[in-house]
């Protein structure tokens, strides 16, 4: 039985889809069978980040409504052959998803794949709740910034109350993935530190992804950063996070910025 992992955040624009693609690809590269499911019905983007936007024929809603088989809707990645994408529908509205239908699709995926990553839409409404509903684990994507941390806290509350596991009295394993971390700003006290975020949310840390142009470039090219540029720092941070997700005990190193003499003197970046 595979593991179902929801990638969620509450707030939009923090990097859920990018992180789903990067983590999923990193896990798939180790030989595990991985399915990425886009739950953002009406505003799908995982296909674009994965570079599969021109290969979408059927989607999650088609499968739920029975107009397509799951095997017809799954798109196999061209770079990693154990990686698959189940796109969201672009045309229908969010009500096209039913809890029963989603449950059936997740069960089928779980029986075939080692990992099922559910890319949640932003918000705390129905779509986000369905994305987390059948999850065993949750990756909460958070930027070190007040509104993102607040929304993450809200989502943690939902994970502990509205998921199938929570309702059955079981724990859902939660991990915080801090993205867009700027070591320089954190050092200057202009950004919440990792310790602040962890203390406030009291959820264990999965990884710290530094703010990076490479991540944007990977999105532009339609390739998860862990596949296109696996040696750069953001990709390495994602690969390490994926290994931790698989249970490896790997220490997290907080990125730091090397300071020059003048910076030290002034306590901030000279520029």
């Amino acid at each position: 039985m595979g593991k179902v992992v929801v990638v969620t955040s509450g707030k939009g624009g923090v990097g859920k889809t990018t992180s789903t693609a990067a983590l999923g690809a990193a896990v798939a590269k180790t030989g595990k069978k991985v399915a990425l499911v886009d739950f953002d019905v009406g505003l799908r983007n995982l296909d674009l980040i994965m570079g599969a936007e021109r290969r979408v024929v059927f989607d999650l809603v088609n499968v739920i409504q029975g107009t397509a088989k799951l095997s017809q809707a799954l798109i196999r990645d061209k770079r990693v052959d154990t990686l698959f994408l189940l796109p969201a529908s672009q045309t229908r509205d969010k009500d096209a998803l039913t809890e029963e239908g989603v449950g059936e699709v997740i069960d089928k995926l779980r029986s075939v794949f080692d990992y099922v990553f559910c890319d949640s839409p932003a918000g705390i409404e129905r779509g986000a709740q369905l994305a987390m509903r059948f999850a065993d684990e949750a990756v909460i994507v958070t930027n070190p910034e007040v509104s993102s941390v607040r929304d993450s806290d809200r989502i943690i509350g939902l994970l502990d109350a509205r998921t199938m596991r929570a309702e059955q009295g079981e724990q859902i394993a939660k991990h915080v993935l801090v993205t867009r971390y700027d070591a320089g700003r954190a050092a200057r006290g202009e950004m919440l530190s990792i310790d602040d975020v962890l203390e406030i949310l009291s959820v264990p840390l999965l990884g710290i992804i530094p703010e990076s142009q490479d991540v944007l470039r990977a999105s532009n090219l339609g390739a998860p950063v862990t596949l296109s540029e696996p040696l750069n720092t953001a990709a390495k941070a994602y690969i390490d996070a994926a290994r931790r997700l698989e249970g490896e005990d790997l220490p997290v190193v907080v990125p730091f910025e090397r300071k020059g003499f003048l910076d030290r003197l002034l306590g901030r970046r000279a520029a």
């Binding site: 910034e145 007040v146 941390v149 607040r150 806290d153 809200r154 509350g157 954190a186 200057r188 006290g189 202009e190 950004m191 919440l192 530190s193 602040d196 406030i200 003197l265 002034l266 306590g267 901030r268």
Partner: protein, 90 residues
Amino acid sequence: MNVFDLFKRRSSAPVARERLQVLLAYERRNRSQPDLVSILREEIMAVIAKHVQIDQDYLQVSMDRGETMSTLEIDIQIPNKSAVPMAIAG
């Protein structure tokens, strides 16, 4: 005071952290219960309605949260009897 302190920007992260801690402590406490202010508002409205007919808009309930104490502000306007017909007429 060091002369270089003049060049230092005051760091904002500790402020962010403190604001979040206060806010989230409150939000977590209230997560399981429905919105207190709207419950109070409804019940106060029901008590008043037993004796005086007032419109929903004449009752304002607001809560100002402090760290150690919160204040509940209730503002009820009861129109004078002579004013009522005018209000209806208007």
